[in-house]
């Protein structure tokens, strides 16, 4: 996919997303803002998953765990009366990074389908932990009384402000992945995906590079979690169930894995599609399911690949 097309698509998406709050208020559909706030936050997680899945060939089926870890860090701190975002958010990122470092160090010793299974296993462990600890709500989840406060800096309770803060973070996430994918570091990660043995023979300690990418992706996932907890004022185990991880995977592939802007397009498309279908019929998943199957079968670079001019017939 050409850089110019990606740039055009990215700019177009960004402008469209930035126009959501005025459009929602002009059209008198406040729900639109709620939906798109969620979409923007989930897109951060998709972009981060793409860094390891699309560029690194690490098929994680447990990426939603970072949304959960980020969310629960904020929720648990709020539960204990710590409402300052300057404490909550860095800690949410730090805990996510630490979890990614420890589990990633183990996961990356495996390959292929085993990697899928072990990321799933670690995510399930945390899932059962959140279900089991009754002090923080267990199955029922944990309500967050107050959103993270940043003193007088920004007021996250304001819906429009919150939306633009989320959008700014999404933009930052896209830029980070963009920079990484074109850096020396990113090239090594991509090379290790294409042919790990050759990269090692060239003298690159690919394990360390891949682990670093894994930790960066996990940290960004944690950020999405902290934002999501603030949007819904609530965290529950469902946030990190393995089906959520599956959804993230679908969004990345739908948009086009291994392109920077693809996951954003995929997230918007998937979540809007969900919303539209659920408006048509209560049984919308019976349509969505076969669509996902079809998408997997004809997988040709997703939305981004579909928009690109065909190079070879």
């Amino acid at each position: 996919m050409s850089t110019r097309l990606q740039f055009a698509l990215g700019a177009g998406l960004l402008i469209a997303l930035a126009a959501i709050p005025p459009v929602a208020s002009l059209a008198g559909i406040p729900f639109l803002l709620t939906l798109f706030t969620r979409i923007v936050i989930v897109a951060i997680a998709s972009v981060s998953l793409n860094l390891i899945l699309g560029y690194g060939g690490m098929y994680s089926l447990g990426h939603a765990v970072y949304i959960g870890i980020g969310g629960y860090t904020v929720g648990i701190l709020a539960f204990h009366g710590v409402h300052s975002g300057l404490v909550q958010w860095p800690l949410a990122l730090a805990v996510s990074a630490l979890f990614a470092l420890v589990t990633g160090a183990l996961c990356l010793r495996t390959r292929g389908v085993y990697f899928i299974m072990i990321t799933l296993a670690f995510a399930q462990m945390v899932y059962f932990l959140t279900v089991g600890v009754a002090k923080y709500g267990g199955d029922d989840g944990l309500t967050i009384a107050r959103r993270s406060s940043f003193g007088g800096l920004v007021n996250l309770a304001d819906r429009t402000t919150f939306y633009y803060v989320s959008l700014a973070f999404l933009l930052a996430a896209v830029l980070v992945v963009w920079r990484i994918s074109r850096s020396h570091f990113g090239m090594v990660v991509r090379g290790a995906c294409a042919n790990d043995r050759r990269m090692q023979a060239l003298g690159f300690p690919t394990y360390r590079y891949r682990l670093a990418a894994y930790v960066i992706a996990g940290t960004m996932g944690g950020l999405a979690g902290a934002l999501l907890a603030n949007q819904t004022d609530f965290v529950n185990p469902e946030m990190l169930s393995w089906t959520r991880s599956g959804d993230l995977m679908i969004m990345v592939i739908l948009g086009g894995s291994g392109s920077v802007i693809g996951p954003v397009a995929g997230t918007v498309a998937y979540m809007v599609l969900e919303e539209v279908l659920s408006g048509i019929t209560e049984h919308w998943q019976i349509i969505l399911g076969p669509l996902v199957v079809l998408m997997a079968l004809v997988r040709q670079g997703g939305i981004v690949g579909w928009l690109s001019p065909k190079r070879h017939a």
Partner: protein, 307 residues
């Protein structure tokens, strides 16, 4: 001591239930190299079919007898329509496609049978108690699950080790191209194996139905456990699945039964009652992670040993 033995029996029963599910999964995984997340959906559909047929004809056994062929047929149709197109492709494609199938099946079941869930009533003689361990009455139905599990294990052992089809299955797992080159209809073989896997999943669903509730999403939690089992047992190995299923079943049951008591002495009752279920659930996944890191090929590496 009797409590311990009783919990061991419970563990064995859970283990054999897991084996029914894991056997099909590991066959499909080992032979077609296919990650089938929708295996849990077949388990769910099996349970629903049995509950529905049983209610309609007022007999548990008609429910069982009718559910299995329908599940076999469903498996074959599914293989021809979707699964066949997945062979030899990236595992990521498998995960996505079968994830889509889960969405479809969950909603299809909701559409056909409603969101409320069903129950599967037992015939009277299966609802009684028997003394397996002297002095401890144990439900007959749980014994029946153990017996069915053992019978299926024996059947599969015979099928895979001592029949021509089994020989082809083993050969196909070792080198599919060579088997195809020797003139074996690999396509048909794969369709059959997938159908048998679907049938086994449905059988697990039917057997589980009277002790669990028949509900949407019932296949998903147990599917992950079945994956744990086949990873520990060694992907593609039925024998491995058998041993690992019993290990997982017993550990999980004993953990849930005795961890709260053990923790109570050190941490106090309140903390123990909340932490124990979480710890015993986490322990299973920790075990799998440990296996993947130390011995990724599992307890019984399957012959052929690709990947």
């Amino acid at each position: 001591m009797t409590l311990f033995l009783e919990q061991c029996l419970n563990g064995l029963q859970l283990g054999l239930l897991l084996f029914l599910l894991a056997a099909g999964l590991t066959l499909v995984f080992g032979i077609m190299d296919l990650v089938n997340l929708a295996h849990g959906s077949l388990y769910m559909v099996g349970a629903y079919l049995a509950a529905w047929f049983a209610k309609r004809f007022d007999s548990f056994f008609i429910g069982l007898a009718a559910a299995l062929p329908v599940a076999l047929l469903l498996g074959i149709v599914l293989e021809v329509l979707v699964i066949r197109r997945l062979y030899g492709r990236d595992h990521l494609v498998h995960v996505l496609a079968t994830f889509g199938l889960i969405l479809f099946f969950n909603e299809a079941v909701r559409l056909v049978w409603g969101a409320a869930g069903l129950t599967l009533a037992l015939p009277e003689f299966l609802g009684t108690w028997v003394q397996v361990i002297p002095g401890v009455p144990y439900p007959v139905y749980r014994v029946a699950i153990i017996v069915v599990g053992l019978l299926v294990a024996a059947f599969l052992y015979f099928l895979v080790q001592h029949t021509r089809v089994g020989m082809l299955i083993r050969a196909g797992a070792a080198d599919r191209e060579m088997v195809g080159a020797l003139g074996v209809n690999i396509r048909l073989l794969y369709t059959l194996v997938f159908g048998v896997g679907a049938c086994l999943a449905a059988l697990a669903g039917v057997m589980a139905a009277p002790i669990l509730t028949v509900q949407i999403g019932m296949g998903e939690t147990i599917l992950i456990l079945a994956f744990v089992v086949i990873v520990i047992g060694g992907i593609g190995s039925v024998r491995g699945a058998f041993v690992a299923a019993i290990i997982v079943g017993v550990l999980d049951t004993l953990g849930r039964a005795f961890l709260p008591g053990a923790l109570k002495q050190t941490f106090g009752a309140a903390a123990a009652s909340t932490a124990a279920p979480a710890i015993s659930a986490m322990f299973i996944y920790l075990l799998m992670a440990a296996f993947l890191i130390v011995r990724p090929e599992g307890l019984f590496p399957a012959a052929g040993g690709r990947k």
